[in-house]
């Protein structure tokens, strides 16, 4: 019993100095005891090794899980980086494409648009007492569109001649106010004015100015169909669009 207690304390490293002396003596004198000490020391060593290895395997698992998580993190941040880069690239491409498209449309517009020349009211040089109508067409011919717009508005209110709408619309387009020109041209189309066959062309020009390609095409198709005014030019423009 005494021996067993000493051995247990020895294995735990808890022998007092006095006990240690007794233990040493036993080791030297008692062969059976020495064998038992060696045996239990070996058992302890082997049991410890087994436990350590089992736990080491657990730690390996922890580590590979930690590394898998890290990889995932890195992958995710890369993934988002790629997504972000793609979105930026898309924006940049869209921007350049839009700029390119816009410049192309604007080019077509300026190539094709010229305000309809005044055929309605020929201006005689040196007219001293000009009436509003003369003033309006004079301003229009001279390129003073703002002034002509005011006068055409006034004249249409009193005179109701549809061609005032047409010239006013032309002046508006020239001043980059196509959105205002469109309803005037549409109204003009409904009248049976001699200039009505030209309205579709200028409607197309208005849509081109505001880059509404679909409506511009529709108007141009009507121009082609009518075969009276700018048919060839309309065809060419349709091809370009």
């Amino acid at each position: 019993m005494e021996k067993e207690m000493l051995l247990e304390k020895y294995l735990k490293g808890k022998l007092t100095i006095k006990e240690k002396q007794g233990f040493e003596i036993l080791l030297k004198t008692d062969l059976m005891f020495r064998k038992e000490v060696e045996f239990q020391k070996d058992v302890k060593r082997v049991v410890t090794l087994e436990e350590d290895e089992a736990f080491r395997n657990v730690l390996y698992d922890f580590e590979s899980e930690a590394q898998a998580k890290e990889q995932k993190k890195i992958f995710f941040s890369y993934k988002w980086l790629i997504v972000a880069a793609s979105i930026i690239l898309l924006f940049v491409l869209t921007y350049f494409f839009t700029v390119y498209q816009t410049s192309k449309i604007q080019e077509l517009y300026s190539e094709n648009f010229k305000p309809y020349r005044n055929v309605t009211h020929p201006i005689t040089r040196g007219e001293e007492f000009a009436d509003d109508k003369t003033k309006a067409f004079l301003a229009y011919t001279k390129g003073e569109y703002k002034e002509s717009i005011e006068l055409f508005t006034k004249l249409y209110t009193s005179g109701k001649e549809p061609y005032y709408l047409f010239y006013k619309a032309n002046a508006l387009i020239q001043l980059n106010r196509a959105t205002e020109a469109i309803p005037l041209l549409q109204e003009h189309l409904r009248s049976s004015d001699v200039l009505s066959d030209k309205s579709n062309w200028y409607l197309a020009m208005s849509y081109l100015q505001i880059e509404d390609i679909e409506k511009a095409k529709r108007a141009l198709n009507l121009v082609v169909k009518n075969k009276t005014y700018k048919t060839k030019q309309a065809k060419k423009l349709l091809d370009a669009l």
């Binding site: 239990q40 060593r45 049991v47 090794l49 087994e50 736990f55 930690a66």
Partner: protein, 180 residues
């Protein structure tokens, strides 16, 4: 040392142990990189140290330690890092980085166990052949360092005599294997 953390470390709860393992891992790797050791080697050191820490916790050696678990763990890793550096020095001339070391962390030496003797290798084989009951009692007694009374508290055994008898039977079985 933080009682709850120590309890987690002593448990067999995989999630709790994993949480502790991950708790200090990143910081250790940052700490260890100052010594110019590669990540694989540092991870080996971390695992060895964590294992040593748990073993000490299981054997009740940390109950009276005032240092925090992190300080203690880093102390073990620091000893192992220095040991590794000494070994490296033998192979490659190594410029010492020791002056930049965080002095707050004291080295804690953990003795390395020698290779198994032939007898121990045989014993290991016989141990594997024993049943689960034997392994449990022997582990609690020799690895955890519990006494018979504590083993009764820890397990489903009815009383000390049963445990004693079980332990004796197991040791006897091992001894007989050698006599065959």
């Amino acid at each position: 040392m933080d009682k709850n953390a120590l309890k987690d470390l002593q448990s067999n709860d995989r999630l709790k142990l994993k949480a502790l393992y991950n708790l200090y891992r990143e910081e250790f790797l940052n700490f260890g990189r100052r010594y110019n050791l590669d990540q694989g080697l540092l991870l080996d050191i971390y695992q060895d140290s964590f294992l040593a820490l748990r073993k000490q916790a299981l054997q009740g050696k940390l109950d009276t330690i005032d240092a925090s678990m992190k300080t203690y763990l880093f102390g073990i890793t620091k000893y192992k890092i220095y040991d590794q550096l000494k070994r490296n020095k033998r192979e490659v001339p190594y410029e010492s980085n020791l002056h930049i070391v965080n002095e707050e962390i004291l080295e804690i030496k953990i003795e390395e166990e020698p290779q198994l003797t032939e007898r121990q290798l045989l014993l290991r084989k016989y141990l594997k052949e024993l049943g689960e009951k034997c392994r449990q009692v022997l582990t609690l007694f020799y690895y955890r360092g519990l006494n018979i009374k504590e083993i009764v508290e820890y397990t489903n055994y009815n009383n000390e005599n049963v445990v004693k008898a079980q332990k004796s039977r197991c040791l006897k079985a091992l001894r007989q294997q050698f006599k065959r």
